[in-house]
C-alpha cells in the first residue's frame, strides 16, 4: 500500500515539474496565437535553440550559469525579432495553411542549424545544483526538480503580472482582443507582434534550459514542443490561464499513464498518451476548457 502510494506520489511530482515547463512553453505558444493568430510549429525548436545556446555559452565560452542564462534570454529576444521580421511579417494576410507551413519550414531550418553547429549527441549541463536529493516525507526529489519548478512558476508569475499590469501587456491584450480597434487607438500592432514572438522565444528558451538541466540536451528536445499542443488544446488555444493548467495537467497525466500503463503496451505510452487525450478533448470540447467558443454570424 505504502509502495503504491509512493509510486503515485513520485509520478505526480515528476509530472508536476515537467508540466510546469510545458506550461511555460505553452504560455509562449498561446501568446503568439492570441496576438497574431498564428500557430507556431517551431515552438519546440525555440526550446532547442535556447537550450543549446545556453549550453554553448556555459561550456564553450566559460561564462557562469546565471549570466549565461541572462545572455540566452537576450539571444532569444534577438531570435524572436529576426524570425518575426523576416519570416512571419511577409505572411500577414496569407491563408492559414501557408502560415502553418511556414512555421513548419522554420522548424526544419532551425533544427538543421542546431545539428550543423552542435551535432546530435546528448550533452549535459555542468552540474549547477547540488546532487543531494531532497526528501519530502518519503518521496525523493532531486534539487534540480525543485529549482525547475520554482523557476517555471516564477516566470509564469512574472509574465502573468506583465500582461495584467504593464502598459505593453495591456496593449498586447488589446491587440489580441481586436486588432483593428487597437490599431485605431494608436497601438503599434506590428510592434506587439514582434514583442509576442520575443516573449515566446524567451519562455521557450528558459523552458529548454530547465529541461536540459534535468535530462541533458540533444536534438529530440524539439519534440518537447509537440507535447505543448495537447496542453494548449486542453486549456483552449487562446487562454493563458488555460495554457498553464493544461501544461500541468498534461505533465501529470503523461507521467501517470506512462507509469501505470507501460507494462501493458510495451513502453512509450508517455509519448502518445497526451495525443490520445487531445483527440478526446477535441471531440468533447472543441475549444478546450477555457477557450472562447467562436460564434459565427453571417
Amino acid at each position: 500500500m505504502a509502495d503504491a502510494f509512493l509510486k503515485f506520489a513520485q509520478l505526480l511530482v515528476t509530472g508536476l515539474v515537467t508540466g510546469s515547463v510545458y506550461a511555460l512553453v505553452a504560455l509562449g505558444f498561446v501568446l503568439i496565437y492570441k496576438s497574431t493568430s498564428i500557430i507556431n510549429f517551431a515552438q519546440g525548436e525555440f526550446v532547442l535553440v535556447g537550450a543549446y545556446v545556453c549550453l554553448w555559452i556555459v561550456t564553450g565560452l566559460g561564462v557562469p550559469f546565471i549570466p549565461a542564462f541572462i545572455l540566452t534570454m537576450v539571444g532569444s529576444v534577438f531570435m524572436g525579432l529576426v524570425v518575426e521580421r523576416l519570416v512571419l511579417r511577409p505572411m500577414i494576410g496569407e491563408p492559414i495553411i501557408s502560415v502553418i507551413m511556414v512555421t513548419i519550414g522554420l522548424a526544419a531550418l532551425l533544427k538543421a542549424l542546431v545539428t550543423i553547429f552542435w551535432g546530435t549527441q546528448i550533452r549535459v549541463f555542468p552540474a549547477i545544483f547540488s546532487q543531494e536529493p531532497i526528501r519530502l516525507g518519503q518521496v525523493i526529489v532531486s534539487e534540480v526538480y525543485v529549482w525547475t519548478f520554482f523557476f517555471a512558476l516564477l516566470f509564469l508569475g512574472v509574465f502573468a503580472a506583465f500582461f495584467k499590469y504593464s502598459r505593453v501587456g495591456i496593449a498586447m491584450r488589446a491587440v489580441a482582443s481586436d486588432q483593428m480597434t487597437a490599431q485605431s487607438m494608436g497601438i503599434p500592432v506590428k510592434l506587439v507582434f514582434a514583442i509576442s514572438w520575443c516573449i515566446a522565444a524567451i519562455v521557450s528558451g528558459v523552458g529548454g534550459i530547465l529541461i536540459g538541466n534535468i535530462n541533458g540536451i540533444n536534438i529530440t528536445l524539439a519534440d518537447f514542443g509537440l507535447k505543448v499542443f495537447p496542453a494548449v488544446i486542453f486549456g483552449g488555444l487562446d487562454s493563458i490561464l488555460g495554457a498553464i493548467i493544461g501544461g500541468l495537467t498534461v505533465g501529470v497525466l503523461e507521467n501517470l499513464m506512462g507509469g501505470y500503463l507501460d507494462q501493458f503496451f510495451g513502453g512509450g505510452v508517455k509519448e502518445v498518451a497526451p495525443f490520445i487525450v487531445l483527440i478526446i478533448v477535441l471531440m468533447v470540447k472543441p475549444y478546450g476548457l477555457f477557450g472562447i467558443k467562436e460564434i459565427e454570424r453571417v
Binding site: 505572411m91 507551413m101 522548424a107 533544427k111 542549424l113 545539428t115 510495451g266 512509450g268 477535441l282 472543441p286
Partner: protein, 354 residues
C-alpha cells in the same frame, strides 16, 4: 491565330482538353512516359543516378499528393496525418500479401479502403474543428498511428520490418523496376484522371464550396458533415493506395518511413506545387523527390574538400527543405502551378503581352 479562348457553350467551357493543342501535348507526354524505361539506363549513367527508380517514387508520391490535394486544396481541410495514413495503406497491403497471401489486385484496393476508413474516423473532428484546431487534431492522429505501427509488433513487425512479396497478377511478377514502372504509370494516369474529373462532379463542387465559404455552402444545401468526411475518405484512399504501392515496391515496410516528417513533406508537395490545382500535386511531388537528388550532387562534389560534408548531408537536406518552404511561401505563395500559368500566359501573347 486566335488571341484567346472563346467558348460559345457551357459544354465547351467544361471540357478537360480545351484545345487540340493540349490534347496533342498530353498524348506526346504519355508516349514519352511509356518510352522512358527504354532509354532510362542511358540517362541514369550520365546523371549517375537511377532514373527509373526516381520516376517510380515520384509517381507513388504523385498519387499521395493528389489525395492530400483533394482534402487540403479542394476542401480546405488541413491534414498533418497523411504520412501515417500512407503507413496504414502500406501495412494493410503488406500484411494481406505477406501473411494471408491475398493477391495483389485485391490487397491494393483493400489498402485503399482500410486507409479511407481510418482517415474518415480521424476526420470526424473536422465537423466541429477548423483550420488550426484541425491541423493539431490530425497531427495527434499521426502520432497515435505512428505509435501503433511501432509498438503493435505482433501485427506490424515493428522496427524489424515486414517483408512484402512482389506484386503479381497471375504468374506475372512485377519484380523489376521496369515492370513496376508501368504498373505505377497506369495507376498514376488513372488517379490523375479521376482527380481531374472529381472537380467537375457534384461532390467536387461541394468540396470547393466548403473551402471557399463553408457557411454559404451550408446555406445553399451542402451537407458539411457528409462532404467533409467524404473528402477525408477519398483523400485517404489515394494515400492508402500510394502506401500499398510503396510497400510492394520497397518490399520491406518499417515504421521509420511514416513519421510526421512524411506528413510535412506531403503538405509541402501540395503547397509548393499549388493548392487546388491538379497539376500542382504533380509538380510538387516531382520537386520534392528531385530536391534531395539535386542536393546530393554538390554535397558529393564538396565532400572531397570537406569530408564532414557527407555526415551532415541529411541535416543539410532538412535545412534546405525548410528554407525552400519559407522562401516559396513568401515569394510564390500560389505554388509552381500558378507560376507555370503566369509564364504560359506571358508567352501566349508575346511580344505583345501587357
Amino acid at each position: 491565330m486566335p488571341c484567346g479562348l472563346f467558348h460559345s457553350s457551357y459544354r465547351k467551357d467544361d471540357e478537360i482538353f480545351k484545345t487540340w493543342w493540349v490534347r496533342g501535348w498530353l498524348i506526346g507526354l504519355l508516349a514519352f512516359l511509356v518510352a522512358l524505361p527504354t532509354f532510362a539506363p542511358g540517362i541514369s549513367q550520365i546523371l549517375n543516378t537511377n532514373v527509373t527508380n526516381l520516376c517510380i517514387i515520384i509517381m507513388i508520391y504523385i498519387i499521395g499528393a493528389h489525395g492530400l490535394n483533394i482534402l487540403t486544396g479542394f476542401t480546405g481541410q488541413i491534414s498533418l496525418g497523411h504520412g501515417a495514413f500512407m503507413g496504414v495503406g502500406a501495412y494493410t497491403a503488406g500484411i494481406l500479401a505477406a501473411r494471408l497471401h491475398v493477391p495483389f489486385f485485391v490487397a491494393l484496393p483493400a489498402a485503399g479502403l482500410m486507409t479511407a476508413a481510418v482517415g474518415m474516423v480521424f476526420g470526424i473532428p473536422s465537423l466541429r474543428l477548423k483550420g488550426l484546431y484541425l491541423a493539431i487534431a490530425t497531427m495527434a492522429a499521426q502520432f497515435i498511428l505512428d505509435y501503433a505501427m511501432r509498438n503493435w509488433t505482433s501485427l506490424t513487425g515493428g522496427s524489424a520490418g515486414l517483408n512484402v512479396p512482389y506484386a503479381a497478377i497471375g504468374s506475372f511478377e512485377f519484380n523489376t523496376d521496369e515492370r513496376f514502372y508501368y504498373l505505377v504509370l497506369v495507376l498514376v494516369v488513372l488517379a490523375t484522371a479521376f482527380t481531374k474529373n472529381l472537380t467537375r462532379t457534384r461532390p467536387g463542387r461541394a468540396f470547393v464550396a466548403i473551402r471557399d465559404r463553408y457557411l454559404a455552402a451550408e446555406v445553399i444545401g451542402v451537407n458539411l458533415f457528409k462532404y467533409r468526411i467524404m473528402s477525408f475518405g477519398i483523400s485517404s484512399f489515394y494515400v492508402g493506395i500510394a502506401g500499398g504501392l510503396w510497400g510492394y515496391y520497397i518490399t520491406i515496410i518499417s515504421d521509420e518511413h511514416f513519421t510526421i516528417w512524411l506528413s510535412v513533406q506531403f503538405l509541402a508537395m501540395v503547397i509548393i506545387g499549388g493548392l487546388g490545382h491538379v497539376l500542382g500535386a504533380i509538380y510538387g511531388a516531382i520537386f520534392m523527390v528531385l530536391l534531395p537528388e539535386l542536393l546530393r550532387i554538390p554535397s558529393e562534389a564538396l565532400s572531397g574538400t570537406f569530408p564532414q560534408m557527407f555526415v551532415i548531408f541529411g541535416t543539410l537536406q532538412e535545412g534546405v527543405f525548410g528554407l525552400i518552404i519559407i522562401l516559396f511561401l513568401i515569394f510564390e505563395p500560389d505554388g509552381l502551378a500558378a507560376r507555370w500559368h503566369t509564364i504560359r500566359n506571358y508567352w501566349k501573347l508575346w511580344p505583345f503581352s501587357y
